[in-house]
């Protein structure tokens, strides 16, 4: 399976993680890597095992098998302390002031109180919440609570980010500023792993994609690599009927509708696309010959089917 471009440091590597709950194997021999400076999207349906994998990575759940490596060595508590983590179910102390509890979390991450406070005010400012710093969390709207939660994960200038559904509950503007914020962190070279149900968002943001289904990794690679996994599909639109394409060697015809054909190259005949195109041009007008770029949702449905 592809593991990203060469010469990229593998920061977090998950090897053969397995976790059973009774008879249910929630995570089954899951392996993938999160590279430095890369945004890795973790995709899968409900119950696919994303949260369990993230919890094991963060040391919150014991593992039945497998291990997590950090720069090639088994991950330590100190590594985890320096990782920004956002759990699936959100929560902060409802009755404590925002700034106080963020300072507390910063101190637990090893920051001094003054450093933590500066970083917090900086982030609150960015989200337009600076004037709410002394409010209790319970007084904030859900979207703003979510922002505070994100600050808790990012303010420590972490060495890695593991975020479980960071975009859920955010409005489009907040999604954009959150995306910008995450890109800042990848551009300073840290690995970011986030899970999401929003495939369009994952496609837009991620350099790398890991798809989980029923506890197993069913796809792992860049979006382009995932697209190139199966046979390539092309659309051919001619000036006249396209029925003849069925007889071209090395081409599997998926569908023909009048002058339009959808084809797959089987790969048996090298250069079959060029042969097909020459053939078509010799027969008359070619209005379109293009590779079909499948949306990620389609790829997702294919790999998880």
């Amino acid at each position: 399976m592809p593991h990203g471009p060469p010469n990229v440091v593998v920061m977090i590597e998950i090897q053969g993680l397995t976790r059973r709950f009774g008879d249910l194997t929630a995570v089954d021999d899951v392996s993938f890597a999160v590279h430095d400076g890369h945004m890795t999207g973790f995709v899968g349906g409900n119950g696919a095992g994303k949260t369990t994998t993230m919890r094991m990575t963060m040391g919150l759940l014991g593992v039945d098998a497998g291990r997590v490596l950090w720069n090639g060595a088994p991950i330590t508590a100190a590594n985890r302390q320096r990782t920004g983590y956002m759990p699936e179910e959100r929560g902060l102390y409802p009755k404590q002031k925002i700034v106080d509890q963020l300072v507390y979390l910063g101190e637990l991450s090893g920051m001094s109180a003054s450093d933590a406070k500066a970083a917090i005010m900086d982030h609150l400012e960015r989200f337009g919440l600076a004037d709410r710093a002394n409010d209790r969390v319970e007084k904030l709207s859900l979207g703003n609570q979510q922002r505070v939660q994100i600050i808790a994960a990012l303010m420590t200038r972490p060495e890695a980010l593991i975020l479980d559904e960071p975009f859920s509950g955010l409005d489009p503007t907040a999604v954009d500023s959150m995306a910008d914020l995450l890109r800042e962190h990848t551009s300073r070279g840290i690995p970011v792993l986030f899970s999401s149900h929003q495939l369009d968002l994952v496609e837009r943001l991620c350099d790398h994609l890991v798809v989980l289904a029923k506890g197993r990794v069913v796809a792992d690679g860049t979006v382009a690599q995932l697209r190139n996994r199966g046979p390539q599909r092309y659309r051919l639109v001619l000036g006249s009927d396209a029925g003849w394409v069925r007889d071209v060697p090395g081409v599997h015809t998926v569908d023909v509708d009048g002058a339009t054909a959808v084809l797959e190259l089987t790969g048996e005949t090298p250069g079959a696309d060029q042969i097909l195109l020459r053939d078509a041009l010799s027969r008359g007008e070619v209005k379109e010959f293009a590779r079909i770029i499948a949306p990620l949702s389609e790829i997702y449905r294919e790999v998880t089917a």
Partner: protein, 411 residues
């Protein structure tokens, strides 16, 4: 805007001097304990509760000291020949009871004297009915006045009668008194020690319940809000447990020191102040036992919190513990003799019963030491067990767990 540090919108620069190097990690439990304490002492209900309790203790002390010292002046009216005895009574009554002062008014006639009392212009009317001196009031003769006045009347009448019989009061009373004496200590002092024991036991009971509930509540709050998931990735769960227990213990012991301190200061203004030196050692022992006893109980409360997933579950998961606290409190009243002696060694009962035995003087010097060692041993066992239960149940968020489930739950 490639990094946070270079962010142009930063408006709050970190203070220049005294900036700790980032990553300088203080002990995690101390940070947790600090939050537990700060979050509490700036909490309105906690502050109000503490201030109110202090006010009640101080108020009680002030009122009782005031009641004790208050002298009452009575207006006594007499007429005719009775006035001269009234004056004698007035001059001698204060020697009998220093809280009673009598002002004498003379009336022109018995009727006038009676009228003054009826009109509330005088408290009592002193007059003779037959051979007997009588105090007549409008509705009720004040107890303090009656007791003191009757002593004066008796002494003065006996003296007059003795004189007319050709003898003296001393001769008549010779050998006629019965003095009471006890072999062990002083009866008042023992009563005082007993009351003191009850009061301290009550304080322990209240503090264990309120701070225990509070500790369990804060554990559930962290579980329910899921912030514990973030905390557990930052520091070991053991550090979180230790920090929470020590923070709440510091609060409970601190509050206890304030309450007993104010109580003792108050006592030093009362007639009991002479007993204070004899109970001060007992109070120090009480604080030592309180500290350890609370630590043990706090561990159990933390587990009760961890077994629940929501605040609503807490009533049930804390039930065995509330029962235990009740049992300890009942033991204070019900345990006597050998049962008391045995229970005073059994932790956690020892935390409350041994100080009581020290206060009433029935414990030999080695007994609190043994009880303390047993309590420490139990504390060690409970802390370890609590850590396991706490760690394993902390991330289980579906409903409440039994102790057995939590003990065998996978991590």
């Amino acid at each position: 805007m490639s990094t946070i540090e270079q962010n142009p919108v930063r408006t709050t620069p970190a203070p220049t001097g005294g900036r700790a190097p980032s990553g300088a990690m203080r002990t995690a439990w101390a940070i947790v304990a600090k939050r537990e304490i700060l979050a509490k002492i700036f909490d309105k209900s906690f502050l109000v509760g503490t201030v109110l309790t202090v006010a009640v203790i101080a108020g009680f002390m002030v009122v009782s000291a005031f009641m004790e010292d208050r002298t009452k002046t009575y207006d006594l009216v007499a007429s005719g020949a009775d006035v001269s005895f009234a004056r004698t009574l007035a001059s001698e009554v204060t020697a009998v009871d220093d809280k009673v002062i009598v002002d004498v008014r003379s009336a022109d006639s018995a009727q006038a004297a009676r009228a003054l009392v009826l009109d509330d212009d005088a408290d009592v009317w002193l007059h003779k009915v037959g051979d007997d001196w009588t105090l007549t009031a409008a509705t009720e003769v004040p107890d303090g006045l009656q007791a003191a006045a009757s002593t004066v009347v008796r002494q003065s009448t006996i003296a007059t009668n003795a004189q007319s019989a050709g003898t003296s009061v001393a001769a008549i009373e010779k050998g006629a008194t019965l003095k009471a004496s006890i072999l062990k200590g002083n009866a008042d002092k023992q009563g005082f020690a007993k009351v003191m024991g009850f009061v301290l036991a009550f304080l322990f009971y209240m503090a264990s319940l309120t701070f225990g509930m509070q500790l369990a509540g804060s554990v559930v709050e962290e579980k329910a809000s899921r912030i514990v998931e973030i905390i557990a990735t930052k520091i070991p769960v053991r550090q979180l447990l230790i920090g929470k227990i020590l923070g709440n213990t510091a609060l409970a012991v601190g509050q206890m020191v304030v309450y007993t301190g104010i109580g003792l200061i108050g006592l030093s203004f009362t007639q009991y102040k002479s007993y204070l030196p004899s109970v001060s050692a007992g109070i120090v022992w009480f604080l030592v036992f309180f500290l350890l006893g609370f630590l043990v109980i706090a561990c159990a409360w933390a587990v009760a919190g961890a077994l629940a997933s929501r605040t609503e579950d807490l009533q049930q998961t804390a039930m065995p513990l509330t029962m235990l606290m009740m049992a300890m409190w009942f033991a204070v009243f019900l345990a006597k003799g050998a049962v008391l002696t045995v229970l005073s060694f059994v932790p956690p009962f020892s935390a409350i019963l041994m100080p009581i035995r020290i206060l009433d003087g029935s414990a030999a010097w080695w007994e609190p030491v043994v009880a303390l060692l047993l309590l420490i041993a139990l504390a060690g066992v409970i802390v370890r067990g609590a850590e396991r239960l706490y760690r394993r149940s902390l991330l289980q968020t579906s409903g409440k767990l039994s102790i057995k489930q939590a003990w065998s739950a996978p991590e």
